[in-house]
Amino acid sequence: MYSYKTGIALIDEVSGGFDAGINVLILAPAMSYADQLAYTLAKPLQGEYAIVLSTNERAAEVIDAFKLAGADKRFTGVIDAITKSSTPGIMDTQRMMFVSSPTDLTGIGIKFSNMIETIFEGDFSEGETGLFPPPIRLCVNSISTLLMYRRLEVLYQFLHVLIAKLKKIEGVGIYLLNSESFDDKTLSLIKQLMNCVIEVKLENNISYLRIQGIPGVSGDWRKFTVTKGQVILFE
């Protein structure tokens, strides 16, 4: 089974990376570099693809962020739930698809399926590498925004379906959720869908993370920073 390298030595050395089918929740307060962490974990390595469901940033901004993280934009697709509200006539491309708003779960689901189909059929980009099934990293940035538009129960069902599909195609999912904006019931329900939780906290303007749910990986808090698409952990 394919392993998705994380770039975090702590994980890669112990388990070889994220196993195919795993779902990772990044639980973080605002302004804690969590989106950079998510993009770093979701960036496609050689032979891989990334799909970002963006409810916070426009597709072009997401692509720029991935490029800064060292990703090849030819293998990065974005489902953008922001731009269409201000630019209703914007057209889909193979790698950028637009839905009317984060409320439109029908549209998001369809665009996700379409993008997966394009990748499987080898039409996503030139220079396909031929790995099969094609390794796909999904990044949802963020569940917090989706929860502002749809009820928790509905979103839970939606994520459940998304995760089942991702598992079937042997992808990996990275999901961002603001740890300060939601009650315990919400956090607990979303955690139920995940295999691994990376908690992030800020103390004196320094970011810390701890990893839970990967056997053999310590659950201690570690200071970290993200630089040029690399997650650096400090002792």
Binding site: S85, T106, S113
Partner: protein, 386 residues
């Protein structure tokens, strides 16, 4: 009758949607079935029908652009223009506060006003957010209120997370006349979409599933194809004949010749609500070049082998390689397994080098129940919902 805008579907339901009908297009998550609604809307507008479109999730402009892109022609080219209530209306209604009763009253007031002023005959509603805001019963009551203002038909689209039990409620508790469920499976990869006519009030027990594709702005239903292939003399023709033969019924199978004077078996049968066409590939090695192209549109493949002739398994292995390239669901039917000296499943698996997820069935192709069991298993693996 209001046409669904999809020829094949109109034929299936006897011409279209009866006036005064309640229709539900239920979309399973991720299934690109939005054209069902758009096609019906375009068709109603083309007939000069006065329509209200309720879009709580998007704006009129974004919807217009999406509809034009999906359907190929813009709604604004229709002789009759629809009227809309969109996400801006919903936002204003939400601002009325937490009282569900107050918000319901405002939805009803707006819908009735628009219907009266425009003599609306048909309402097209994207129902997700009304369902979420009010629940099923109250959400439908809001739409029902439009009947007092002359709009007697309504057609809903709903993203359905709850599957068949929710659809049963629409039929049983709310007397919907037509319920169509658009579904998908990840086999054959990456996505196989089909719709099931769950209920038509004017045609009881009319449940039927049909695969569809989206092509040039149209929903195109098609008949699934299952391919029966195998080495020469393995029993393919016998398998196809047994598949289609029904006691007391006319034989639905035929053997015909293609342009190269090669015999091709095919037959039709009804299975798990699908109408299925079964094709047998020509058996002679001279026909080998014909086999790979025939895999391309197949939704499932039965590889028939002769379990008493291990010497033929090398050509079966080559066929397996050709099938698995297309990632088409495959089952192995080990024919003549009832005869002495036949190989058992372990030997067959070892000789063919197949993984555990490809089923091997020990059968006799002259026994119809054996053949039907193989086909049932294959159809299940094609249609299993992801």
């Amino acid at each position: 009758m209001i046409s669904t805008g999809i020829n094949g579907l109109d034929e299936m339901v006897g011409g279209g949607i009866p006036k005064n009908g309640r229709v539900l297009y239920s979309l399973d998550p991720g299934v690109d079935g939005r054209l069902f609604m758009i096609s019906a809307l375009s068709s109603a507008l083309a007939q000069g029908t006065s329509c209200l479109v309720i879009l709580p999730h998007t704006t009129v402009e974004a919807f217009g652009n999406d509809a034009a892109r999906m359907h190929g022609t813009g709604l604004d080219s229709a002789p009759k223009q629809p009227v809309f209530l969109d996400t801006i209306d919903r936002e204003r209604i939400q601002k009325l506060g937490p009282s569900q009763e107050a918000r319901k009253r405002e939805w009803v007031r707006r819908i009735q006003k628009v219907c009266r002023e425009n003599q609306v005959e048909v309402i097209f509603a994207y129902f997700d957010l009304l369902y979420e805001d009010f629940g099923l019963e109250t959400g439908l009551e809001i739409l029902e209120s439009a009947r007092n203002s002359g709009a007697s038909t309504y057609i809903l689209e709903l993203l359905n997370f709850d599957g068949a039990p929710l659809l049963e409620r629409f039929v049983r508790d709310f007397s919907f006349d037509l319920v169509l469920r658009a579904r998908s499976s990840l086999h054959p990869l990456p996505q196989f979409t089909y719709f099931t006519l769950v209920h038509t009030s004017w045609s009881p027990n009319y449940c039927r599933s049909v695969p569809f594709s989206i092509s040039e702005g149209r929903v195109v239903p098609y008949v699934p194809k299952i391919l029966v292939t195998g080495p020469p003399g393995s029993g393919k023709s016998t398998f196809v004949t047994s598949a289609c033969r029904n006691e007391g019924e006319e034989d639905t199978g035929v053997t015909c010749r293609n342009g190269k004077d090669q015999e091709i078996d095919f037959c039709w049968l009804r299975w798990n609500d699908f109408d299925i066409t079964i094709y047998g590939t020509p058996g002679h090695t001279a026909s080998d070049p014909l086999v790979p192209p025939s895999f391309k549109r197949a939704m499932g493949v039965v590889l028939v082998i002769d379990a008493t002739r291990p010497g033929l398994l090398s050509s079966a292995r080559q066929l397996i390689e050709k099938v698995t390239v297309h990632l088409t669901p495959l089952v192995i039917a080990a024919n003549k397994s009832d005869l002495p000296g036949s190989m058992d499943e372990q030997e067959i698996r070892k000789s063919l080098g197949i993984p555990a997820d490809i089923p091997v069935f020990a059968i006799s192709a002259i026994r119809k129940p054996d053949v039907r069991f193989v086909l049932e298993s294959l159809v299940d693996s094609i249609t299993q919902v992801s």
